[in-house]
């Protein structure tokens, strides 16, 4: 499985910068992808981002695969006032238990939390995963940090 680039490395800095640039360009789009709108908020022409950076693509996929209860609860965006306010929360991973907020930070747009979650996950994820040395019994029971439906 792809490694998460170490803190301070040029690779990690590149991923962060690209992600931020894409997210900034997506403000105003009713939707979001980690690509850059040529005209901010307009998806007529989009390019770059995960489609042009294989490392960014694979790191994002590793982040997205986690099960709801992994890493202390999968991070999620929660809209607290429709079209006005958003916060970051963690899923409980237990049915019937609601998500909880991770902090008090309130966002005024729905795209910025995407970038902050990207930064949090870069810190939270194990650098390496998915090799024989990471084997545990959960691999036999769909508890291998790889999501299933």
């Amino acid at each position: 499985m792809i490694s998460i680039p170490k803190k301070g490395t040029p690779e990690r800095n590149r991923l962060i910068a690209t992600h931020k640039e894409c997210i900034e360009s997506m403000k105003g789009v009713p939707g979001c992808t980690i690509m850059k709108c040529e005209t901010p908020g307009d998806t007529t022409v989009v390019s770059g981002g995960f489609q042009d950076d294989p490392l960014l693509n694979k790191v994002l996929i590793r982040m997205r695969t986690a099960m709801p209860g992994n890493f202390g609860g999968k991070l999620v965006v929660i809209c607290t006032k429709v079209d006005k306010e958003w916060r970051i929360g963690r899923l409980a991973g237990v049915r019937g238990v609601p998500p909880t907020f991770v902090n008090d930070k309130v966002y005024d747009n729905e795209q910025d939390p995407q970038h902050d979650i990207f930064l949090m996950r870069l810190d939270e994820l194990d650098e390496e995963d998915g090799f024989p040395e990471h084997f545990n019994e959960g691999w036999k029971r769909r508890d291998d940090h790889w999501t299933v439906t």
Partner: protein
């Protein structure tokens, strides 16, 4: 955290003018709430669109009401009212179980012991349970016996318990069907209990739960039996429960597995043997009455169980042989019911108010807007629908209520880790999602798995459905989906001044062609994915007889649905059923042998695998899906064909069509349909515009279109990842126009309806809504066409 303190539902989706619609409201906290009937026009609060638009309607139910809490008592079980035969002194209980959550997380919403067969409450009575540690447990009053052996989940286990009131001997058996090499033996456990069984009057005999206790609160009247709140809901299958009034030997228990035997000249008792027939109190056969709300007792007293909250039936039993997947032809192998603690068939709430809809009320989208002075709010959505023969317009919008029910109260963002892989970003949850995440009793959608992880295949409309609401963005697109997305189209119809009626999926299902034939044109919703057979029959009959169909979305006519016949006494289309079978986009997959509907007995899954390709209904069918952002269309050379060119009047050939919108930022997005004459598109179908080549890697080909897990299926590579705007004529002056993208309608409100998507749809609607047949195609269009062999000249030219 967030909480919706006011929720509600109506007793029907569609109400005729002159009839009454009843509303059921839970107002948990505020002393008062206000009701205002509103006509719904636009439900998307995106600041780049027209915003929320609703109109107050004078109604005799408008006004202030006293708030009161109402509770949903979810979780399926069967029960028999208390009676003297069930108040046994000695007993044998036995059944097969296939538990799915024998042991739950301490924070699980219904953590605790689960009842298998019980007539027990508050330390009195008898019952067979799975205890909190996941082991089999017998309870006699306050005394319990357990094997101490954790029960294997997702596996068949035979369990039994006996009690002899004379000797006081209680015995417990737990016998797994499969014995793996290193499984320890589980010997029977015996204990002497000097107590006599204490019976509490009114405590029912229950299967898959136990009586939590009598509750005199008004809301407990919604439980069944009314006023008795059930607890210990079991997750998993139960097969062949039997209750006897004596302590049988192990050999007799084995014989009792045979259950009741039908009486004949040579066999004049109900049991497998004469003596066992005398011991028998009840022997339930769940393969009998699979399409009912009854657990049939073949024993002497006919103590049929009332089955509450619609568990999943037509489930393979402990003896499934794999030779026959249709329960109608192998009934004895379908003796299992799968119970779930979050099953819900009917909230059974009291009525708070009702609206006598005046004659002459316009057929439109409506809602009872419920508000409190403290800022609480909910919209109970419904439609006014003209009776057949009293149509008000030439245009009908066919509200995709089966699809709304399929998506009802979905939990994917919260529960499905894969949600993020699907949408290529982090999902955004709203108040409705937060509320549902801790109120599992509101039930889930057919996209969800139950709280025990098994597929959810039944959805009721008699409960608050928080996804059929304005101001609700779905995590799939960070934008409206289904109901609020269809309001994009409604806004456009209103803004452009069209007169239109609203008809429901259920009306087309029950009334057939009669519901459609008095309209010149039927307009679909943005995503009518889920359909019953009678509905598709009606649509085909309609277009074949000259009717016009405007298919405004994509991924339609995909899944087989049927309404459960056992709920028709409560109204039309109360519960819809679907099975996710061998292929298609599946958030869960049915187990082998569980493909047939319990309600109608028909084969479930995709219509495609019943020989009814989706492309045959309106000309296009689903090819791909992606949920990050949307794109736009360009005209093809076929758009210049006079058979279709009229639709593009006012749109330049090189114009970008729909590079704007409120769903993904473009008209071509989310789920996409294409023309395929090999999959049911008529060979004369014209493609006027396509979005080919413009989608991101997040768009992937549908899995039913390829056989290997393979590369090259995304929007930057695969030619089938596109949306085709297509037209074909049907006989007798009819026609189908397919816009083929779920995001499409999201472009209609852009710039208050002044845009080229609006021009295109307007051209089509203006032509389709006219009286009489459509103009005939040019004579040279009448040519022989193959399905695969569509363009021999060009094929020959290829090298």
């Amino acid at each position: 955290m967030c909480a919706m303190r006011i929720t509600g539902y109506a007793d029907k989706f569609g109400v005729n003018p002159g009839k009454t619609i009843k509303f059921h409201v839970n107002c948990d906290g505020p002393k008062k709430y206000n009701c205002q009937i509103v006509k719904m026009i636009h439900g998307d609060t995106n600041p780049r669109g027209p915003g929320l638009i609703e109109e107050n309607i004078d109604a005799n139910c408008n006004g202030e009401y006293n708030g009161r809490p109402q509770t949903i008592y979810s979780g399926s079980y069967g029960y028999v009212e208390d009676n003297s035969h069930l108040q046994v002194e000695s007993f044998t209980m036995q059944c097969w179980i296939w538990p799915t959550t024998p042991k739950t997380h301490p924070k699980y919403w219904r953590h605790g012991a689960q009842g298998l067969m019980t007539k027990w409450s508050n330390g009195k009575g008898y019952g067979l349970f799975i205890n909190e540690e996941g082991c089999l447990e017998l309870r006699i009053n306050g005394t319990s016996i357990t094997t101490g052996a954790p029960i294997r989940d997702h596996a068949w286990n035979f369990v039994a318990a006996t009690f002899d009131a004379v000797t006081g001997e209680a015995k417990l058996y737990h016998e797994p069907q499969i014995q793996y090499a290193l499984d320890p033996d589980i010997p029977p456990v015996t204990k002497i209990i000097s107590d006599k069984i204490e019976h509490t009057a009114g405590v029912p005999f229950a299967v898959a739960a136990y009586a939590g206790g009598a509750d005199s609160s008004p809301q407990a009247q919604a439980s069944r039996p009314a006023g008795m709140v059930m607890a210990g809901h079991y997750n998993g299958k139960i097969d062949s429960p039997r209750l006897c009034r004596s302590a049988l030997s192990r050999e007799e228990i084995e014989t009792m597995k045979l259950g009741a035997q039908p009486g004949l000249t040579e066999r004049r008792h109900c049991g497998p043997t004469g003596p066992l027939s005398e011991a028998m109190v009840g022997t339930w056969d769940f393969s009998d009455g699979i399409n009912t709300r009854r657990g049939t007792d073949h024993g002497p007293y006919l103590y049929h169980l009332d089955i509450i909250n619609c568990p999943t039936r037509a489930m393979t039993g402990h003896n499934f042989s794999g030779h026959n997947f249709d329960w109608k032809h192998a009934e004895k192998e379908y003796g299992a019911i799968h119970f779930h603690d979050d099953d819900i068939d009917d909230a059974r709430w009291d009525v708070d108010f009702e609206w006598n809809v005046p004659e002459g009320t316009s057929s439109k989208f409506y809602a009872a807007k419920l508000t409190t002075d403290e800022g609480d709010e909910d919209y109970v959505t419904f439609w006014v629908v003209p009776e057949v023969g009293k149509e008000q317009s030439k245009i009908a919008f066919m509200v995709p209520t089966i699809s709304y029910m399929a998506y009802a109260n979905e939990h994917l963002a919260n529960n499905a880790g894969g949600a993020e892989l699907l949408v290529y970003r982090v999902p955004i949850m709203q108040d409705q999602n937060m509320f549902l995440s801790e109120h599992r009793e509101y039930g889930g959608s057919i996209y969800d798995t139950h709280t025990d992880g098994s597929g959810l295949c039944l959805s009721s409309r008699l409960r608050p459905i928080l996804s059929i609401r304005p101001k609700y963005d779905h995590f799939l697109m960070q934008a409206p989906w289904q109901y609020p997305a269809d309001l994009h189209l409604i806004y456009w119809l209103e803004e452009m001044g069209y007169e239109y009626d609203c008809i429901m999926d259920e009306d087309t299902n029950y009334d057939g062609l009669a519901r459609l034939e008095n309209y010149n044109v039927i307009i679909t919703g943005s995503h009518p994915e889920h359909n019953s057979g009678p509905q598709l029959d009606a649509l085909h009959n309609y277009t074949q007889q000259g009717g016009r169909l405007m298919y405004m979305g994509a991924d339609a006519w995909y899944w087989i649905h049927s309404y459960h016949p056992a709920y028709e006494d409560l109204g039309r289309g109360v519960i819809t059923e679907m099975r996710r079978c061998e292929s298609g986009i599946r958030t869960w997959r049915a187990d082998p042998g569980e493909y047939y509907h319990q309600g109608t007995g028909e084969l479930g899954g995709m219509w495609r695998y019943r020989g009814r390709y989706l492309h045959s209904v309106a000309g296009t069918g689903m090819s791909s899906e992606g949920f990050d952002i949307s794109s736009y269309y360009s005209r093809t050379y076929e758009s210049n064909d006079p058979r279709i060119s009229w639709a593009f009047d006012g749109i330049d050939y090189d114009e970008k069509i729909g590079n704007f919108g409120l769903v993904g930022g473009g008209a071509a997005g989310t789920e996409l349909d294409i023309v395929d004459t090999m999959l049911g598109s008529p060979p004369h179908t014209l493609v006027g515009a396509t979005s080919a080549g413009r989608h991101t890697e997040a768009y992937l080909l549908v899995m039913e279109d390829y056989g290997f897990s393979q590369q090259g299926i995304d929007g930057t590579q695969h030619p089938r990842v596109r949306s085709d705007i297509a037209f074909h004529e049907t006989p007798n002056g009819g026609g189908c126009f397919a816009f083929s993208s779920i995001a499409f309608c999201g472009s209609l409100p852009w710039n208050n309806g002044k845009n080229n998507i609006s021009t295109l749809v307007g051209n089509v609607l203006n032509r389709f809504m006219q009286d009489g047949p459509l103009p005939d195609a040019p004579k040279d269009a009448y040519i022989h066409r193959g399905r695969a062999d569509y363009d021999p000249a060009m094929n020959k030219a290829r090298k």
